[in-house]
Symmetry: none
């Protein structure tokens, strides 16, 4: 089932979207502000995000950037502003479509179909190899030698951020923000703790990691 995350601070609109999307066979989650949206997205890993730009806590483009950091799921932006500059900013931040309110629900559904059609058959099961383990981010599964390995939610989030940036260094501040939230800046002991757990579960030789690498003083890197 296709998972859709609806982000809107107006309960009526959120409710209307939820009902219509659910009626067409989508699995719908909702969030009412930017922080909630980012957390919910990390938790449920949606296939599509419908995002209202008029959120109370964050600028819309920040939310888009936060999502784009780790997911390629289509982002469909709703907004009351029809100004071209707004549209351009949102689209260039990483949004896939921009619909101005008031909108026709039928058209929105068609745009949702168009967006999911592209991304749907494109990616089957993006499995990543780490040491002797295979990681399936979409299915949230890790196997090693036929055995299934369980990861905790925090371990998943951390691993996902790293795997979505293969080869690239991810700063420790960025990791903390993405996994624990914007208020965490210096709790690098969290990173040490969870990186050690991930290595123990995934790496062939946890003491000498070959794929989950430390860049001293900067952050961590996943090497395929």
């Amino acid at each position: 089932m296709i998972k859709v995350l609806v982000v809107d601070d107006e309960p009526q609109i959120a409710r209307a979207l939820r009902i219509n999307l659910a009626a067409h066979g989508y699995e719908v989650s909702t969030a009412s502000d930017g922080a909630q949206a980012l957390r919910a997205a990390a938790a449920i890993v949606p296939d599509l995000v419908v995002l209202d730009l008029g959120l109370p806590d964050m600028d819309g483009t920040e939310v888009i950037a936060g999502l784009r950091g780790w997911t390629k799921a289509p982002i469909l932006v709703l907004s009351g502003r029809a100004a071209s500059a707004e549209k351009i900013a949102a689209l260039d931040a990483g949004a896939d479509d921009y619909v101005t309110k008031p909108f026709d629900i039928g058209e929105l559904l068609a745009r949702v179909r168009a967006a999911t059609r592209r991304s749907g058959p494109g990616a089957d099961s993006p499995v990543t190899e780490i040491g002797g383990a295979t990681v399936d981010l979409a299915a949230r599964e890790v196997h090693r030698g036929g055995e299934e390995i369980r990861l905790t939610p925090t371990e998943w989030q951390l691993l996902e951020v790293l795997l979505r940036n293969p080869g690239k260094l991810v700063g420790q501040r960025e990791l903390l923000h993405r996994v624990w939230g914007p208020n965490y800046d210096r709790e690098t002991n969290y990173l040490r703790q969870y990186m050690a757990q991930l290595r123990k579960k995934l790496e062939e030789d946890p003491a000498r990691p070959a794929h989950l690498l430390t860049e001293p003083g900067m952050g961590y890197r996943f090497r395929p």
Copy 2:
């Protein structure tokens, strides 16, 4: 170069699109009716199609269907009709986006960027060449002859400031401020120390630097 096929029977609009797209680095072809469009598409295999629905010879959805039969290139539909039924029909026929005329050219370009961004993820981060080494600032990676070279955090910061101002002289005070903070003004020995380390790691002949140059009494300069 990204190839765009513009299909419109109104010469003014087709011309305006061609000029704007070409100005932004796209390779543009044009067609003025549906049959031409399908033939041109088969010939040049575009990466994106901008399609006006009001064609003289065929219905717009037929053109979309004809393209969708063999290509997954994004189709961006232009139309004077704002009716939702039209939009839904076009989107469900296989279009990726639908823009009603009159449209803002900046917005259209943003939608083109959004559409091509999805389909063409073959964008590696830009690398800079220094001596025999390749520096990837985004990934925080340095290679030289297949070997990986490690830089410390301070070395990265210093190198980044220089590389982001290619060819330009950066004063030593500016370097100290950017890397160590606003309280450092005269600690030029830091610069000497770290410039020497960078040269040893990056330059072909560290004693006679070819890219990380000293401007005596002023500062340092990166020469590409």
